[in-house]
C-alpha cells in the first residue's frame, strides 16, 4: 500500500467525480514545471479508463489536499503517482460495482470507455458521473485494489499535451502573479545589504501619499494600492535607509581552504548512509601500481528563477491565507504559524504556480513577507513581489563544495582503492519546524528576532552533501567521507539534485582521469567496474546512439553516468564540445540515455532530462555567486549569466523501455553526469583537465597553464 494512502486513506480526499463529467484528482504535490499535473492525470485516466482531458488535478492546498510533504527529491511520481494509481483503481472498482447493480450485469461483463460503462451482455450503458452520488467515495482505502496490467496501458506511456500549457500560451490566469483579489494592494521590500545587516535609520514617511511604510526591526516594506507606486516607493526608500553590516565571512576566494579547515563533523559514508563514527585511517594498498589524486570544486550557485519570488496574503479575522509557489506548503504553513504565533488552524497555504527553478528559492521567505504586510493592512489582501536583485541576493543558494578524490590502480588497470572526501555546507534550509528557531529569513530581522535553525549534518541515506557520494561502480575498497561545515558565509538550501551534482561531477571526471591513466577507453573502463546490468544497458544505449564525432582538432567527446540517489533513474550523458583557442567552450551536441523504469509521460520525461542537462550545463559553464565585504554582487543577469539559446546544443534523448518495472523519479537524474561529461569532452578536445566549476574561458586557459 502506498505510504501516502496509509496516511490519508479516505478515497474522496484523492478522487471526486463531478456531475459535469470532470474528475478531480487531488495531490499534495505541486506543479513546478516538471509536468506532475499531466503525469498524475495520465495515471488517473489510465486506471479509471477515461480520457486525460476529463481529469483536473488539484495541487497542494493545506485545507483540501492530502499532505504529501515537500515536492522534492524527484519523489512525486513514486509517492503521489502510486497513491493516485491506487485511489483511481479503487474508485473504478466502486463505480463498476454500482454500474453492475444498475445495469443488472456482472462486473466482469462491463467495459469502460472514457467513463461510459457498457454491459457486453445487454449493451445497456451508464457513466461514472450519473452513477456517482455525494457520499460514494466516503470510504477508506484499506487494501490495494486490482491494478491494470501495464501491458494493457493506452494512456500511460503515450505522448500527451501538457494540461497546464494551454492557459500559459493564451495568457490566461496561470500563475500566482495572475491572482487579482478584490481590493488587493501591492507590496515591495527594502532588503538589507546582507542577511546580517541592522537597520539604523529609516524615514517615517515617504513623499508619495497613499503609500505606507511597514517596519518591524530590520524588516522594511512598503504597501500601496497600485503596483508601480509600491515599486517607486521601495526605490526611493532604499536610497534613504541606512544599515550597519558585518562583512560576510569567510571571503569568496578563501572558500576552498575554509571548507577543508573548518569541518564541524566528518562522517564515514557506507552504503549511502553517513555513520556517526570515527573516520578510519586510510592505508594505501601495497599492490598499487599507480595512485591518482584530484580535487574538484563547485562554487555557490543559485536557483535563479526567471520570475522573482512572490506571494499573495490576506489576514482576516485572525486567519492568514497565503497563495504561494512554495514547494512545501505544509512546511510553510507550520513555519508561518510558529513565527506569527498563530495556531495551525489559523493558517492556510494554497499553492499557485510560480516561475520554475527546481529547488528552495525565495518562495517561502516571501510568504512571510506577504503575511507581515497583510497583517499590517488587514483585512486587505496584498501581493508582494521580490525584485530581481532581491531574488539573486537573498534566495538560499546551493552550497560550495570541495571534493578530494584518490584512487589506486593495480597492474591490470583496475581500481583497487577508492577515496572520496566531500567538504560542504548544509543543503537543508527549508522551513522545517524547529522549536525556537526558523528558516524563514525575514523572521531573523524582525524587532523580536527568531534565530536561524542551527545547521546539522543530514543523516538519512542519500541526502544533502552525501547524495551520490557512493559510486555506482563495484570497487574492492572504498573510503567515503562526508565533511560537514556548519558556518557558511551565505544562506544555503536545496537546489536540484543537492550534493549529487558535485559528487557525480567529481566521480565521473575522476573515472575519466583513471581511464586515461590505465590507458583504457573511458566507456570500457566504466563497464569493467560496473556490475549493475541496468546501468550497463544505459551506457550501451548511449554508445549505440553516438553520432559521428567532428574530426576537428579542437573537438572532443566526453561521457558520464550515474543512478540518481543510487536508487532512482539511471542516466548517461555524452557531450561533444569545441574549445576555442581563447578557452571558450561551445557545446555542439549531446546524447542522453536513461532508464526510469516504467515511463508515465515519455515527452515529459525527455523534457525533464534535457532541461536538467541544460540547467546543469549552465552551472558547469557560467554560474557562480559572487560577493565582497558589502554583500552579494551577482544581483542581476549580467553579473550572474545563465545559458542562452545560442549556447544550448542540439540534444537527442533515448529511453530504455521497462514497462513492468517500477516508475522511478527522473527530474534530477541528468544534472550530475552533465558537468563531468563536459569536463571530459574538454579534456578530449584540448588535453586540459578542468576541475573547478564554472568552466569559464579564464579557467580553461588557466588549467591549460
Amino acid at each position: 500500500m502506498p505510504a501516502n494512502i496509509e496516511r490519508t486513506p479516505r478515497l474522496d480526499r484523492w478522487i471526486r467525480v463531478e456531475e459535469n463529467g470532470t474528475i478531480i484528482v487531488s495531490t499534495g504535490k505541486v506543479e513546478i514545471g516538471q509536468g506532475i499535473k499531466t503525469a498524475l492525470a495520465m495515471i488517473a485516466a489510465e486506471e479509471l479508463d477515461v480520457s486525460v482531458q476529463r481529469i483536473r488535478v488539484q495541487t497542494a492546498d493545506t485545507e483540501i489536499t492530502p499532505n504529501e510533504f515537500v515536492t522534492a527529491g524527484s519523489m512525486s511520481i513514486e509517492d503521489s503517482g502510486s497513491a493516485v494509481r491506487v485511489a483511481s483503481a479503487t474508485a473504478r472498482q466502486i463505480l463498476l460495482e454500482l454500474a453492475a447493480e444498475k445495469l443488472d450485469a456482472d462486473v466482469s461483463s462491463l467495459t469502460v470507455e472514457d467513463g461510459f460503462v457498457t454491459s457486453t451482455e445487454s449493451n445497456e450503458q451508464t457513466d461514472y458521473w450519473s452513477l456517482h452520488s455525494g457520499n460514494l467515495f466516503e470510504v477508506d482505502i484499506n487494501e490495494v485494489p486490482s491494478l491494470k496490467d501495464p501491458h494493457t496501458y493506452h494512456t500511460v506511456g503515450t505522448k500527451t499535451t501538457r494540461t497546464d500549457l494551454v492557459a500559459k500560451v493564451r495568457g490566461d490566469v496561470a500563475f500566482v502573479q495572475d491572482l487579482r483579489l478584490p481590493h488587493m494592494w501591492h507590496g515591495r521590500l527594502i532588503k538589507p545589504p546582507t542577511a546580517n545587516s541592522t537597520l539604523v535609520e529609516c524615514p517615517d514617511v515617504i513623499d508619495l501619499p497613499g503609500v505606507e511604510i511597514v517596519r518591524d526591526g530590520s524588516f522594511v516594506g512598503v504597501v500601496a494600492q497600485r503596483e508601480e507606486l509600491a515599486v517607486t516607493a521601495a526605490q526611493r526608500l532604499a536610497a534613504r535607509v541606512k544599515w550597519q553590516s558585518e562583512p560576510l565571512t569567510p571571503a569568496m576566494l578563501g572558500i576552498p581552504a575554509y571548507l577543508r579547515t573548518h569541518v564541524s563533523k566528518s562522517l564515514p559514508v557506507v552504503n549511502g548512509m553517513p555513520l556517526d563514527e570515527p573516520v578510519a585511517e586510510h592505508v594505501r594498498p601495497i599492490d598499487a601500481v599507480q595512485t591518482l589524486d584530484a580535487s574538484y570544486y563547485r562554487p555557490f550557485q543559485m536557483h535563479a528563477s526567471i520570475g522573482p519570488s512572490v506571494a499573495c496574503a490576506q489576514f482576516v479575522n485572525g486567519k492568514l491565507t497565503v497563495h504561494s509557489h512554495s514547494q512545501g506548503v505544509e512546511l510553510l504553513k507550520r513555519a508561518l504559524a510558529d513565527v506569527l504565533d498563530l495556531s495551525l488552524d489559523r493558517v492556510r497555504v494554497i499553492h499557485a504556480e510560480g516561475a520554475g527553478c527546481y529547488g528552495h528559492n525565495g518562495a517561502d521567505d516571501v510568504g512571510l513577507d506577504a503575511a507581515l504586510l497583510a497583517i499590517a493592512i488587514q483585512p486587505r489582501p496584498v501581493m508582494v513581489k521580490w525584485t530581481r536583485a532581491d531574488e539573486h541576493g537573498f534566495e538560499p543558494y546551493t552550497p560550495a563544495a570541495v571534493i578530494d578524490m584518490q584512487a589506486s590502480l593495480d597492474g591490470d588497470g583496475r581500481i583497487i582503492d577508492w577515496c572520496h572526501d566531500t567538504f560542504s555546507f548544509s543543503h537543508n534550509g527549508r522551513p522545517r519546524p524547529s522549536p525556537g528557531h526558523t528558516n524563514l529569513q525575514t523572521a531573523w530581522w524582525r524587532g523580536k528576532p527568531i534565530t536561524p535553525v542551527p545547521r546539522q549534518p543530514a543523516m538519512m541515506a542519500e541526502v544533502g552533501i552525501h547524495r551520490n557520494l557512493e559510486p555506482i561502480y563495484t570497487l574492492p575498497h572504498k573510503r567515503l567521507v562526508k565533511h560537514f561545515v556548519a558556518h557558511s558565509p551565505l544562506r544555503t538550501s536545496s537546489l536540484r539534485s543537492l550534493g549529487a551534482f558535485a559528487n557525480v561531477f567529481a566521480i565521473e571526471s575522476f573515472m575519466d582521469e583513471l581511464a586515461h591513466a590505465a590507458d583504457t577507453n573511458p566507456l570500457e573502463f566504466r563497464l569493467a567496474h560496473l556490475e549493475d546490468d541496468r546501468a550497463r544497458e544505459v551506457l550501451d544505449l548511449l554508445h549505440r546512439r553516438a553520432p559521428v564525432l567532428s574530426p576537428d582538432d579542437n573537438a572532443g567527446r566526453g561521457i558520464a553516468m550515474a543512478r540518481y540517489k543510487n536508487r532512482q533513474t539511471y542516466c548517461a550523458v555524452m557531450v561533444d564540445v569545441h574549445v576555442d583557442y581563447d578557452g571558450q567552450v561551445r557545446l555542439d551536441h549531446a546524447v542522453i540515455s536513461a532508464d526510469a523504469g516504467l515511463v508515465i509521460d515519455p515527452d515529459g520525461l525527455v523534457n525533464q532530462l534535457e532541461g536538467g542537462f541544460i540547467q546543469a550545463a549552465s552551472w558547469a559553464l557560467k554560474e557562480q555567486v559572487t560577493w565582497d565585504h558589502e554583500g552579494v554582487t551577482s544581483r542581476d543577469w549580467e553579473s550572474y549569466p545563465i545559458l542562452t539559446f545560442s549556447e544550448v546544443p542540439t540534444i537527442e534523448t533515448y529511453l530504455v523501455d521497462r514497462r513492468v518495472d517500477k516508475a522511478m523519479g527522473a527530474g534530477e537524474a541528468s544534472t550530475g553526469p552533465t558537468p563531468a561529461a563536459i569536463a571530459n569532452a574538454i579534456f578530449a578536445a584540448v588535453g586540459v583537465r578542468v576541475r573547478e566549476l564554472p568552466f569559464t574561458p579564464e579557467r580553461v586557459k588557466h588549467a591549460a597553464g
Binding site: I375, A376, R388, G447, D636
Partner: protein, 192 residues
C-alpha cells in the same frame, strides 16, 4: 506614515489596523503628473489617467488584467515581459506609457482570434510541449511573431539569435527552438 509592528501579536494587529484604516480614507492623490494617455492594446483603445512615466507592464497587468507580459527582472535582461509595439519586440518592464500614444500594443492574448482559435505559434508551442514552467513562454511567443514576420524561414542559428534576449531557466530551449521552426512551417503553409 509608519507602522511599527509591536508585540505581543494582538497589540500590533490592533494598532496597525487602526493606523491603516485611516489611510484607506485618503483619496488616491499619489499621482505625480496626471496625464490622459490613449493606448491601443490588442485593437482595444482606452483612455487612462495615469502618470506618463508608468511602465507599460503595470498598465497591461493591473489596468487591463492581461497576464501575458511577466515581470522578470525590470532590467531588459530576461525577456519575460516582451510585447509588440507597432510590431517591434519591446520590453514592457521599462517602457513608459507616455511614449506609446498612438502606437499599437500587442500581447499574447491578442493572438487568439475572435473564434477562440490559437495562433500558429501558440499551436506549435502546445503541440511540442515547448515549455516547463511556462513563465517565459508568452514573451517568447511575441518575439517569435516579430521574427517570423521579418524572416518566414529562419535557420536554427537565426532562431537562437532572435531568442537570445530571452532567458529560460527550466531548459526547455531545444523544444522551443523546434516550436519556432514548426510555427514557421505552419505559417508558410497557411499563407500559400
Amino acid at each position: 506614515m509608519r507602522i511599527v509592528l509591536s508585540y505581543p501579536n494582538f497589540q500590533f494587529i490592533l494598532y496597525s489596523y487602526i493606523v491603516v484604516t485611516s489611510a484607506f480614507n485618503k483619496a488616491p492623490s499619489y499621482i505625480q503628473a496626471l496625464m490622459t494617455v490613449t493606448l491601443t492594446i490588442n485593437n482595444l483603445t482606452r483612455e487612462l489617467d495615469l502618470d506618463p512615466g508608468t511602465r507599460l507592464i503595470f498598465v497591461l497587468r493591473d489596468e487591463f488584467a492581461l497576464n501575458g507580459a511577466k515581470l522578470g527582472c525590470g532590467l531588459e535582461q530576461c525577456g519575460a515581459c516582451v510585447v509588440l509595439v507597432d510590431g517591434q519586440p519591446t520590453y514592457s518592464c521599462t517602457k513608459p506609457i507616455g511614449e506609446l500614444a498612438g502606437k499599437h500594443i500587442e500581447t499574447v492574448e491578442g493572438l487568439v482570434d475572435d473564434d477562440g482559435h490559437l495562433h500558429a505559434i501558440q499551436d506549435a508551442f502546445l503541440e511540442l510541449n515547448a515549455a516547463q514552467c511556462g513563465y517565459c513562454t508568452a514573451g517568447l511567443i511575441m518575439r517569435v511573431k516579430a521574427l517570423l514576420s521579418d524572416n518566414p524561414k529562419p535557420s536554427r542559428a537565426e532562431i537562437c539569435a532572435a531568442l537570445d534576449g530571452h532567458l529560460c531557466r527550466c531548459g526547455a530551449h531545444p523544444r522551443i527552438i523546434d516550436a519556432v521552426a514548426s510555427a514557421a512551417a505552419k505559417l508558410r503553409v497557411r499563407e500559400r
